[in-house]
Symmetry: D2
Subunit: 344 residues, 4 copies
């Protein structure tokens, strides 16, 4: 690892650098008589980079070298493939997740679940606990919502992904969900990340509105470091300056992330656009950029939706998106998972 130190260091600051190197079993040597370019040799662990970055003496890590975090893809390392029900993310597998933004009624959920299953989804999404900007907005059906999701899984064979907001609910959500979602607003909620790190369920981690790629990957690292290696990353649009669009789907991030990490990367074109009429174009763009999957808001009666009804797409539109997905995946010899289990 090559580290750049600040200029004019005090004795204690320099001592702190040497002390940490010793503690981590690394051998420090300054390059060529410089007093700020420090090469650290020795076996590196995933925590080394952060620990040096935290020292006030350190200006920047010029080259992390062997100090690779767990999320990092080493040269030649293949994709990590993550299984969620019959869905597979990564390694040539493309998975479609679809469902209503919020879980509202058992009948509506089942209707949507059946519809998306027929059309190509292998995972059902639906929020039981809703993260709302306003305290006065519908906060979700909570435990009842979880029950409705479990019922829908029984009836359709779809796996279930749902968001958890509170570390105290991780247990209950883990019981029901096949995959636990951490939303954008909680991407940097270390307490929640540590809690799901202790879980054995796969995690769907959404990028924060204005998170850099490194911040996003380090949020995933909290889960990995906690012992849970099953993290799927989701690009859902970043905050932009044009009020006419909700967010900006960052397809460059999808492409860059696939190179930086071995973890799967999917896109959420629904929350990115906030417009039902642009979801299909963004879904195609995300898959074309290399995403391992797409997650869509689908609703059969948007006027009833308790949140984001205007951005939900119809089953017909989802069918078109699924068809696009199969063609786009084939471009790279990838394939879209589909449900095979026979259900009633």
């Amino acid at each position: 690892m090559l580290v750049r130190l600040r200029k004019n260091l005090t004795e204690p600051e320099l001592a702190a650098v040497h002390g940490l190197a010793r503690q981590l079993g690394l051998r420090p040597r300054f390059l060529d008589g410089t007093s700020d370019l420090l090469q650290l040799d020795g076996r590196s662990g995933p925590d080394h980079r952060s620990r040096f970055e935290d020292l006030s003496a350190v200006e920047a890590i010029l080259d992390p070298g062997e100090a690779r975090e767990r999320f990092q893809r080493a040269a030649g390392q293949p994709d990590t493939v993550i299984a969620v029900g019959e869905g597979r993310f990564g390694g040539g597998n493309v998975t479609l997740i679809a469902g209503p933004c919020a879980v509202e009624s058992p009948e509506r959920l089942l209707e949507i679940a059946r519809g998306v299953r027929e059309r190509g989804a292998t995972v059902l999404r639906g929020g039981a606990y809703k993260p709302r900007t306003s305290p006065y907005s519908f906060q979700g059906t909570r435990e009842k919502g979880l029950e409705m999701l479990a019922r829908a899984r029984l009836e359709t064979g779809l796996a279930v992904v749902t968001e958890v907001l509170d570390p105290r609910d991780v247990g209950a959500v883990s019981e029901i969900a096949d995959m636990i979602q951490i939303g954008s607003r909680n991407m940097a909620n270390s307490a929640l990340l540590q809690e799901v790190g202790r879980s054995t369920k796969p995690v769907l981690l959404k990028r924060g509105f204005a998170a850099t790629l490194r911040e996003f990957l380090l949020a995933a690292e909290y889960v990995l470091a906690g012992g849970n290696s099953q993290v799927v990353l989701c690009e859902r649009g970043i905050r932009g300056f044009d009020p006419s669009t909700r967010n900006v789907l960052d397809v460059g991030a999808v492409a860059a992330l696939k190179r930086m990490t071995h973890l799967p990367v999917i896109v959420d074109p629904s929350h990115a656009s906030g417009r039902a009429d642009l979801v299909r174009a963004l879904s195609r763009a995300g898959l074309a950029a290399g995403a391992d999957g797409v997650m869509c808001d689908v609703h059969t009666a948007p006027s009833e939706a308790h949140c984001d009804g205007h951005q939900a797409i119809s089953l017909d539109e989802f069918a078109r998106i699924a068809a696009d997905a199969r063609v786009l995946a084939a471009l790279d010899q990838r394939s879209v998972m589909h449900c095979t289990e026979v259900v009633r």
Copy 2:
């Protein structure tokens, strides 16, 4: 309240609008034969705006009218003044908060606490639970840190503000702290906001990296709606596009917020700049723009700091900032609080 509906509504969507109006005791009437401009008359509550915004039929609230959230300053409404120990925020009172980024050792904390007290602070900050981007970074001294803060208060008379990350820790932190801080990364953590809404301690709410003013104020509304009316807002810099500066201190937000809300507004020039040499200029700018206080990272031995050591300022620099504050406050006939209690 004047609401704009989307075009080409379906029957159910329109019914949902009328149903909600009825439920809230409001009388709807379309303006002038239009089918999208809906005036709602009647007594409005703080939840009305959000509830209409959530309907898929609603495009925008053109004029909230009487539907004012709790945070909103009504015409002529004076500042809410919030007391924290001998500190007072708002209503002509300016308060200085200072201390180390993280609480590390009792001796160091006490040294810093005494130093800032002498120089003008009435509230001591120090993180016992640290929100870190990386799981490998120092996470804080936790309960021991809370004990150290309590000890420092005993010895100096300073009130204490410290951050809580996990709803499960709110009880313990409330026991010790005079003021509970919700950090930027958790501004939209509804579970945490609801928990501190149930507390009786004042809350210091930091603006998220890329939160709009309305999102920021609605986060405060979670706390107010929960029954805790004591919220101080903190502008700490928003995410920018220039990598050479850490964040952008949004003084326009300070000025705008003071008009939008009756709640006090302070600035954190330390986290905004990430540079010890710019803290003083930003502190002055924030106060000049109308902020009710300033919160600084101060450390007597930055090389020992477990986080953000390079941005901490010295006691001497804090003294200069306090002197500036007194002059700037006086420009508007405001005054800076100072500790009067005699301590050992």
Copy 3:
């Protein structure tokens, strides 16, 4: 057109509103006794919206109604198809533009031109006048560069697009170029836009680093209003907050623009990513989102490049991008143009 006026207008402000309405032949009437919602009826011209927006009395245009700018796609209006040499943009035609960032030597330019022609480009790009952030950077071969481009066209049959920076050079560039490019840094350079508005050559207008879609379209309007209806819009990445990527390719903008305007929309994945290894993914994403073309930086000897050498792709990579383009275009029954002229 439905206009919202500010509250508490002065007599002169209100008179200015009525005066303008009269001048434009519009009949104003307030809705339903309101004093701020003004409906304007009558025949609307492309300038009406801007002229009302400029009045201090006007808060916002709630509904432009018939006041459509020239760039706007009316309901059902088909794509405008723009021809550049054998290239066609829009209306089911996809065109590939490729070439070096800067025109340096005749031999190199010809080598690259022949290479990209064989592989699917119909238009050659190359900068003779380079817009550089630093005055010390290579500013371009200027007139000699134009001659080299003309020579390359003669030899290959490719049409030529090149950037103009100075209104005084529009004449000379128009002589040589088949298409004139206005770069991001000059998107809002009204003097330059007005000058190319007087030209008869098609214009390639690049979106500014942080331009909203409306600002972008109004920049195009300068050219259209000047009499030149041939404008192709280019999304080339917007400024983001993550220093690890150069810009953020805004595919949502591509999709939204195709709905807002009848003008063709292409993407520049080279300047968007700044990384040769991501150009292909972004090119695919842009086309999948609906772009009418792609413009790439291609170089056969990047180490010689006077600017942006590290982001240039090879001929082989361009061939792969062209193959992707044919498949992606076919998804929507669109086709990629190719050179048919026999050349020596």
Copy 4:
């Protein structure tokens, strides 16, 4: 200068590096057997950094060392003081610039000019050539506007600053104006920057909506490199993501720029806020952060204003801003210039 090269360089790329070093009279040596950390010793010129950055082989300049651009403040170098009429920017001098956004009628201009002079301005602003987002908006009174400004100077003794949009107008504007303004939209218009670089008049350069500080300073460098050393920088708000505020006044940039460059730095709180009611707070914040001056939009009849009327402040408000300025300047032993010439 310490340069970091990319990994896996080709022979030609490495040769280009050595070739440039030779050409510039620098001696290259790799540090400590590394193949990417290159130290360049020898006399450095202002162009050296940019020229190395442009090589495809170069990843980054780790330390510019002696390769300082003309704008850079060397250690201990004092402020450059720029004189405009009786105004002085920098070196302890604070100057107020005020006037209407656009020059409309001689009577109105004179009324405003007299008013701001009495209240503390030494420089009159007024746009004769207006940079408009829409081609249908009022473009300015042009040459007639210049004449009106000249007349107002004669009558009041105020110096005049006005914007130029087109390189072809630089001569005419230079004739009349005491200071030439380059607006935000043209900050990166190299043709225009080069033209004013040939002028002998001081230049007021406004920061682009989303320009980094280095891009801003390199734009100034175009002028300095052209031979015109009199550049005053103006921070006028950067593009943000909150549609409720026009721009974000970046006071941190003001503070950082004062350390990076010896050139004066002022703020434009009018265009930053877009709200007459926040101009005063932003003006105070800018001066408190260290700005060498403030430029305000002032109008005696905003309803007549052809552009931005809603953000113009009254003469009374300007008087309050001027009073604030005197107090804030005094905090740092600085003083505000005022007109002393006796006029009729």
